[in-house]
Symmetry: D2
Subunit: 382 residues, 4 copies
Amino acid sequence: MVKVVILGQGYVASIFASGLEKIKAGKMEPYGVPLADELPIKIREIEIVGSYDVDASKVGKDLYDVVKRYDPEAPESLKGITVRNGIHLRSLRNLPIKATGLDDGMTIEAAVEHLVNEWKELKPDVFVNVCTTEAFIPFESREELEKAIAEDRKDRLTATQVYVYAAAQYAKETGGAAFVNAIPTLIANDPVYAELARESNLAIFGDDGATGATPLTADVLSHFAQRNRYVLDIAQFNIGGNNDFLALTDKERNKSKEFTKSSIVKELLGYDAPHYIKPTGFLEPLGDKKFIAMHMEYVSFNGAHDEIIISGRINDSPALAGLLVDLVRLGRMAVEKRDFGPVYEVNAFYMKNPGPKEKQNIPRIIAHEKMRMWAGLEPKWL
Amino acid sequence: MVKVVILGQGYVASIFASGLEKIKAGKMEPYGVPLADELPIKIREIEIVGSYDVDASKVGKDLYDVVKRYDPEAPESLKGITVRNGIHLRSLRNLPIKATGLDDGMTIEAAVEHLVNEWKELKPDVFVNVCTTEAFIPFESREELEKAIAEDRKDRLTATQVYVYAAAQYAKETGGAAFVNAIPTLIANDPVYAELARESNLAIFGDDGATGATPLTADVLSHFAQRNRYVLDIAQFNIGGNNDFLALTDKERNKSKEFTKSSIVKELLGYDAPHYIKPTGFLEPLGDKKFIAMHMEYVSFNGAHDEIIISGRINDSPALAGLLVDLVRLGRMAVEKRDFGPVYEVNAFYMKNPGPKEKQNIPRIIAHEKMRMWAGLEPKWL
Amino acid sequence: MVKVVILGQGYVASIFASGLEKIKAGKMEPYGVPLADELPIKIREIEIVGSYDVDASKVGKDLYDVVKRYDPEAPESLKGITVRNGIHLRSLRNLPIKATGLDDGMTIEAAVEHLVNEWKELKPDVFVNVCTTEAFIPFESREELEKAIAEDRKDRLTATQVYVYAAAQYAKETGGAAFVNAIPTLIANDPVYAELARESNLAIFGDDGATGATPLTADVLSHFAQRNRYVLDIAQFNIGGNNDFLALTDKERNKSKEFTKSSIVKELLGYDAPHYIKPTGFLEPLGDKKFIAMHMEYVSFNGAHDEIIISGRINDSPALAGLLVDLVRLGRMAVEKRDFGPVYEVNAFYMKNPGPKEKQNIPRIIAHEKMRMWAGLEPKWL
Amino acid sequence: MVKVVILGQGYVASIFASGLEKIKAGKMEPYGVPLADELPIKIREIEIVGSYDVDASKVGKDLYDVVKRYDPEAPESLKGITVRNGIHLRSLRNLPIKATGLDDGMTIEAAVEHLVNEWKELKPDVFVNVCTTEAFIPFESREELEKAIAEDRKDRLTATQVYVYAAAQYAKETGGAAFVNAIPTLIANDPVYAELARESNLAIFGDDGATGATPLTADVLSHFAQRNRYVLDIAQFNIGGNNDFLALTDKERNKSKEFTKSSIVKELLGYDAPHYIKPTGFLEPLGDKKFIAMHMEYVSFNGAHDEIIISGRINDSPALAGLLVDLVRLGRMAVEKRDFGPVYEVNAFYMKNPGPKEKQNIPRIIAHEKMRMWAGLEPKWL
């Protein structure tokens, strides 16, 4: 059994909940779940035990009713869980949403205590953080982090930073847990949080779930690198109509993507080919199915110039939700293995910015094989 | 030193010769050569010692003059080698080219003897077969092959089949050689030839050099497979304006592509997703820079349907020519290692249809790492 | 009121019937119908009075049940019309369909008489021919056509050729009718049929409904022509999974596309730029939503080379079905105007191969304006 | 004879000069010049008589040497014209270029007088403004404009605004001239300048030369509109590596694109389909050959959803330069016809934002025909 608490009951979390229940009921194939039935822990053993949000229209509602807003075919087995109030700390600021947070009525320290107490009752094995992309500043030192919490610095901390802090406390007191950070806020890549996690028996998967165009770009760049093609330039656009694209129209939030190692190009090619890789715009009718366009130009043998263009329509939320079905199970396995702190073997395949900080991007096709081995599975092609 | 004999002095062989000399002269970077400077045998050690063709306008001409037809910037260091007459056996049939072959004036057996004698003087380490795509029938048994040669069955044998036969005889007599079969005729995948090669100290790299859209498709399919996305359909078009596309408008030749394991889809995905993967047409002004278009549709988590479209303009001949710069050096290494017959570790990365027959396609990104290890190099990411 | 008889109750005819009824019931917007509400004859005035097919599984069934196979949301207002047996003459040959035709049990002449009698009862204003693409040979002379019918040459005539012959007889006897030939068989472009139609009070719209990539190609080529860009090459692929693509895998049928003026390139550019424009393949899971890919390369000012790639997923049947909603009303208008024979003003916009034979393709954007004027509407931009 | 003065000797002006001379010398076809040899005024009659810039590295240099920086094959016939110092007014601000302007050492009024005096000697018929895209504010009234000049408001005026003012004074004194405004600064669309031009015998072609993706988008949207397809969304990206893309990374300049009627979507479709149409980024290695990507989604008949993706590599400067070869000749014709102020018939085809302000965008394919008629030519397809 894997007990899961969701932090941020938006599009991704709702598709995760809906698809999970359909698979458990045998009504849907586990497509988009990389390890499907291969893991010793089966999909039917995953149980959502709690869900948190700060959207006033969701808090207090039944999970089923919230999920239905995103997937009209949500299964009724989702009924019976009430969405609880979580940490806000301005995470929905500038979005057209009425928000309410625990932190509105109490200090951060009190909110942390409140959460840890709730979790001791819910007994989650794994936390899944799928909050809206935040504007954030990483911490320089453990001291600075602890001081910010002690001094109730609501302007300094983000929801994610507080959630991980609380999860670490919960893990320390209960013997172990895992935290899946699927958004760009640096956690697995922040040495302060990595150390805190290691000390507290908290496994960390992060940062920023590897969906969309970037993992494909990674494999295509590896493909070029292995043929010693000299990449001249890379342009990659994304445009979508879901809340995450809306949130990224906010300049401050967009900056949080800059903390992400943009070094994927350099790490895979061995040199920093000029590139423009950005989510570009919000176009409401595209909905959750974003449009991506990539252009790459390279020099081949005898000075020949080649060009590749990749376009696509890709459903954003299901891509990440499918990965979460693995990650919660791998999280439970990390706890069992007592592999705490950032787990690179998992992150290198599942995360855009795989922590810990000192580790690099590798081709996803190879990362997949290494991850299998970490999980005790045979590699497929090695 | 690696001494090379070229069989088929067309576009690919000419770009190979031209680019090779430019790199040796320090005038061009070895882009498009996967192992570039990493191998113990350096690019500057490669020497073209002979070249064969059956185009009447090429035979007897200086290599420099022939290469210049394809690359106006061919270096003068190519001067001094005369293009010799090779085996025709109708390989240019139906093409608008006046052809002449050794086999026009003598039996196949005599032609083989003629070639072996020439080669004993030229002393090549490696043969590179880049003839025009042939219409061919594989051999059922060693006996059948030998009978066809003994009985001078000019309608039964193709140029490639005779060249390999001659190369095997040369290798047996001289202690070892390598044969790079860069065209679709089944050699590495023909058990009769595989056995002949093993017995004769002939290393075989083949079949059909892995260039163009197919290796990219392989890696993209692996990318989908590793995320358990269910591929609904794959369409892949190629259109080009060089002689190879012209040759493929001939139905009989086109069939030779059918002998190629079209099982790449099944081998990488684990199921035979409906696909249409074909070179489609000849359009003269595209020249050597073909246009490729691919469409793939798959099911992701929670039943979501995604689509990817890949388009590109890719120079056909340089892509293959760059691989040859590695293959001739690896050929020499195979002889040194006495690794005769089809060498799967090399073929899995460099060949569309990697022999021997019983072996499968694997993702190219992984094949690359295994090939490095075969060549005594550190893997890059494993 | 416009009374319509459908010839060939396949995908297009079924989407036409379904969409038409939904629009009439106010349940759907008339998207895809170029003239929508602008014509004096309104969409609600269109009535399907008869339907013919030769698929044994359709003949004798209620139209509603047949349409439902193609559109699960077919409206019940389609109930009450029985699909009648039509002309076969091998039109479904080579397709995996059990077929039965009037011509199986009687001579062609008898079948014509049978049809004309049925039509005199149904009193259609317009015939819509959406049979499967046929392999056919045009007629050299009126005499040859009449002799073929008199001599019951079932191997010489196609279903379409007989349907038009019967429709002409019906029109002659009843004072006028219109025939919409939405498939490639030459009718509007066959001078024999054009003359027959003029004499018989039959307006002809044809040939081959202008849907898919070709009309867009036409406008894009016009765009280049107007800027005097010199087009170097054009490649256009189509691949789909409906019965029409399946039918085109048959070589003989495919030839019927060759009768179509492939002169669109020359007529719009003023010179015959090298091109490869073909439906390419059948890939079942694509269904009715075909994948198209186009590549065009041209020279701009100062010798610059530009490239345009167009890709798309396009629903095949609705595109044509939407045009039919206009064409049946325009057919009725042609009869009222007594504009018999091929009507170029209509055909130039709605047809891939606009008849009569001596007329040329013009940019669709301009053809649209001229067609509006023919229909008594204000041009939009002229 | 058409005498031309260039304002802004950058990429476009240099390709214009180079290509023009090559055509005049019979060394190049007039591809990319819409009216090529059709106009009564021939290309060989165009003569560049003066050139102005503010880049310190260009002023005082021979035109040939400047043009050669952009086109290594610039013809020597360009020798003999010295690039003169023009108006700066911060137009190169924020760009990595050392700039110097007439306005650095004198008042705007004095600079205007200086220019008019030079022009009275050079006797140009047409001015071509191809300065770098400016950040600007249009004028509310003639009074405000004249006050700004009288009070030497260097912060209020842009180079273009002063150049047109000077050209109007020159035209008034000499009997007539034409001004081609190929950049986004509102001139033809600014009623203050339109009135000034009409009073001063100055024909105005503007604003913003219609090159790149937008005119193609216009024709594709017209194509959809004519079929009553309901467009759901439009995304259009551009990325390039020339100075114009670099200049657009500056936020203030980018705003000047907002003054451009973004109403093309509404004007062609009849409703404001959600759209994201923007130049997106600067990527140096792309150079002058930008990458464009468009995605459009629409509803067809019976509720079917279709998608079109257009990608391209397009040379930016030649596209505009080719139009200029027509525009200078049409400018001379406007003067001969005494058609002063903004000439809509010309602008509707050649300009992104066709002035005067009260006029709308129409499909380019139709605009072309109307423009031909204005120029005394037969329409091609009307």
